[in-house]
Symmetry: C2
Subunit: 514 residues, 2 copies
């Protein structure tokens, strides 16, 4: 058994049985080994950003890591932006990055670069030094990924092709530490103080079970609940307690936290401004507000919330969102009405991958009472996450309809993920919100106080010269595609896409909000 075969066997034995990849010569033994380990599903991407984003979406929905296969430093570099998002999501991924043979590195061949330096910027890194050690290294990488880390295993070609590989048994998966009783009691004391309090939920704190516990606490004590601004995965809709997210704009957060004296973190970080703005605060915690930590992101957040609830809300039932959909709108599409089409027609058990950015500001309202669904959001701010995450979510949940709501500018970073959707026949309906601008930057250009907004500056925020035609782009990658200019067209095309298996793209022409 060579190293690659032992590596693949170790991965599948540890439950990592999907590998998204884009290989090169140095990964050919890994690719060849795919046939000797039938449990490993290999899924090809045409660009590494699509590969790593798919692994992120997969882990968010499967609650376990996928592997990626990447080609040396440049291949890893191409995948780093979506690894950055995954790092911020605390999504575990096992990156296998092929490298030159150990004895070849001294020659500084054209593809030689500092892979470890790149990998270190996103998490756990190890270069496997021998075929014998490879499987053990892989088992440790899986464990790191199971703990929510980006784990990069650098695989020199000779370590991969060498004989003498022995699969390693899976390591015990990491367990989320239980929050101390004293911590629970301290939070109980805060809640009983009667002072204005907010609980901010993050990580698995935005899953249904945790939300139910938090809602019980809220019902019993009157504290307000918020989800972090960009949750990794939030469960919502009819039957789940409603949970508002903190706003993206600092001004929104300031308003949401007005007069709050205690902020209790349950898997979330203390809120800070996404960017700095001249003369505005970066730390969004109000001046007289004290921050308390109930649970760190890696802790057993759900149990901690339930422990608090069992003290302050014993016997209290959560109040859940009632089923309620918006009316189907009519007329030309607007930033206000397209979300109502989604809210009115969202299928049962959907997963929404939301990179609709400014076009989607009203989406949470429109889908609040739709059938229960998950939403995946742009955790790290690095655009181009939507289409790849939809690929991964669809692979993780083949029985669920995936709805990818994708801003046009962001779509162009990783558009080739559409090809993988077609290749794998994934059940993804992508709605491209085509406002032909970097609309968020039109807003931000004003917010940062830039003095002049002349024609050269504005030209850089404008995607209409020439217009991008997403029907052509999707068709060119093998996906049936249509264009909607009115709410009626969007509704018809959305229904049609749901009625047929496999991927569909709808380009929705929507004016820019700014």
């Amino acid at each position: 058994m060579n190293g690659a075969q032992a590596l693949l066997r170790t991965l599948v034995d540890a439950g990592v049985n999907v590998c998204f990849g884009n290989p090169g010569t140095s990964e050919m033994h890994f690719v060849a080994a795919l046939d000797s380990v039938p449990e490993m599903r290999g899924i090809l991407g045409l660009f590494e950003g699509a590969v790593t984003g798919a692994a992120d979406g997969y882990a968010r929905m499967a609650d376990k890591p996928a592997a990626t296969l990447l080609h040396l430093g440049p291949g890893l570099a191409n995948g780093l932006a979506n690894l950055h998002n995954a790092r911020r999501a605390r999504t575990g991924i096992v990156n296998v990055v092929g490298d030159h043979a150990t004895y070849h590195k001294q020659y500084d061949a054209p593809l030689e670069s500092d892979i470890e330096a790149l990998a270190n910027t996103v998490g756990w890194t190890r270069t496997s030094g021998s075929t014998e050690a490879l499987a053990t290294d892989a088992a440790e990488a899986v464990k790191a990924a199971q703990a929510g880390q980006i784990a990069t295993l650098i695989l020199p070609a000779d370590v991969s092709w060498g004989d003498g590989g022995v699969p390693a048994a899976p390591l015990p998966p990491p367990v989320r530490p239980t929050v101390a009783e004293t911590t629970v009691q301290a939070i109980v004391d805060v809640l009983k103080s009667g002072e204005s309090t907010v609980i901010l939920l993050g990580n698995v704190g935005t899953r249904e079970r945790a939300i139910r516990a938090a809602n019980r606490i809220s019902q019993a004590t009157g504290v307000k609940l918020f989800a972090e601004t960009f949750p990794t995965r939030i469960e919502r809709g009819a039957g789940v307690p409603a949970l508002e997210r903190l706003g993206y704009l600092a001004e929104q957060v300031t308003w949401q936290l007005t007069d709050v004296r205690h902020l209790v973190l349950a898997g979330a970080k203390s809120p800070v401004s996404f960017f700095a703005y001249p003369g505005k605060a970066s730390d969004l915690v109000p001046d007289n507000c004290k921050v308390h930590v109930l649970a760190e992101p890696a802790d057993d957040i759900t149990a901690a919330l339930e422990a608090v609830a069992d003290v302050v809300a014993l016997g209290v039932e959560p109040v859940v969102q009632e089923a309620k959909r918006p009316e189907l709108p009519t007329g030309d599409l607007t930033p206000q009405n397209w979300v109502d089409v989604i809210g009115a027609l969202l299928p049962e058990n959907a997963v929404i991958v939301d990179e609709s950015n400014t076009s989607g500001l009203l989406l949470p309202v429109a889908t609040a009472g739709a059938p229960k669904h998950d939403v995946l959001t742009l955790t790290g701010g690095s655009i181009g996450f939507g289409l790849p995450n939809a690929v991964g979510a669809a692979v993780a949940c083949p029985a669920r309809p995936i709805i990818c709501l994708q801003a046009d500018g962001s779509a162009m970073y990783t558009a080739s993920a559409l090809w993988t959707m077609a290749r794998e026949g994934l059940n993804v309906t992508t709605v491209i919100l085509s406002n032909r601008s970097y609309a968020i930057l039109k807003l931000e250009l004003q917010r940062v106080g830039a003095e002049s907004t002349g024609p050269k500056a504005l030209d850089w925020l404008d995607l209409s010269r020439p217009d991008l035609d997403f029907v052509s782009l999707a068709t060119g990658m093998g996906i049936p595609a249509t264009r909607a200019a009115t709410a009626e067209e969007l509704a018809d095309q959305f229904r049609e896409a749901q009625a047929q298996p496999g991927p569909h793209v709808i380009e929705a022409s929507i004016p820019t909000l700014f």
Copy 2:
């Protein structure tokens, strides 16, 4: 004057008057400042890999650096693969990477990451600490880029928006060191030894003036000449001495260097295998061959070659390639005949950007006697260089026809460069060599000695499920596009593209060579 304005003024005063960019919020003051510095041309890319690749192509043809504008760590990461190619090409680029405000970094906002660590992997790096220091930092970045380095200037948002910016005067541009007379004499001695000798040309050693000097040496002494495998820019065609390139495959190089006793490097590195292969040597210098350095890549290579020629070849004239074109072929396109179409129809004064990979193996033969032209090649092995480099070459040389010969798999890494071609009306004719596979990997899978080549492995080398339709893709990005299945169609469409201004895409359906 704020920092951004002083920075832009400093750049243009130092001759850096093109900025390819893809900005975000932290770069808004730089974008706003574009209108106050009219000499700076701003060119938008939809993805950072297209931006950095354009800067590479620009510098190869303009012989001076362009700037890029990139958005924090993820934006730089997206551009790293083509920066890797530029580093291998020793092309100078000034990257301006926006960062959070200095006081904001402590909050670990979602887009925070280690930008310096990423930038250090490709070259010179500096984080500008104050508005006052910014222009001086920029002048030093330009100087580093002029010396052929990737220079990354990290620009915190508050340094950019702060008042008190003062433009800095350009620093004296670096001068290529003259090679010592003793070194010249040592090489002359080698040449006079009568033993089998090869001169390997790289960097500006593959430009016409250097090639002419090398050719004179060859005529006078009988030494063989080769260009490095992947030249940054090689001048060739009718009127220029012919210069064969070292092969990509180690076996080819071994054959090319058979019985060679002296290898003289003139701006090139000593040849090594692109990848390691089990049981094969990495160092491609024959066992009994001694390596001599006439000129390092940064040295004045041309003058060194001329100094040698003036000793050993005084009065000897170079033998130049005669004008000679292949016949226009007929019938279905093949890897053999499409290159003859290009050779037969290559316009005067063209720049070929060559990422045709396996489909282009015979291109050098077919174009050898075509009108004088430049060829830019994939210096760093990181695919996705072709379309962006063509953008940059076209911006640098608006009066020259740019011919981008682009493999299909590689095209998908940075396909959005087509949109920038359309936006800027660039005179680029792109021929997509569509063989619907990662053909090179089909060859490499065998060469690395992978034992099994089962269906799962082969599936990862296959791009035909579904077929990519580059006519749709190009049309979707605003470029007129056609498809050619026969040599006649390719010839007609190529002529038509040359006859009309602006970008054109031709998808040429070609069987895979392997």
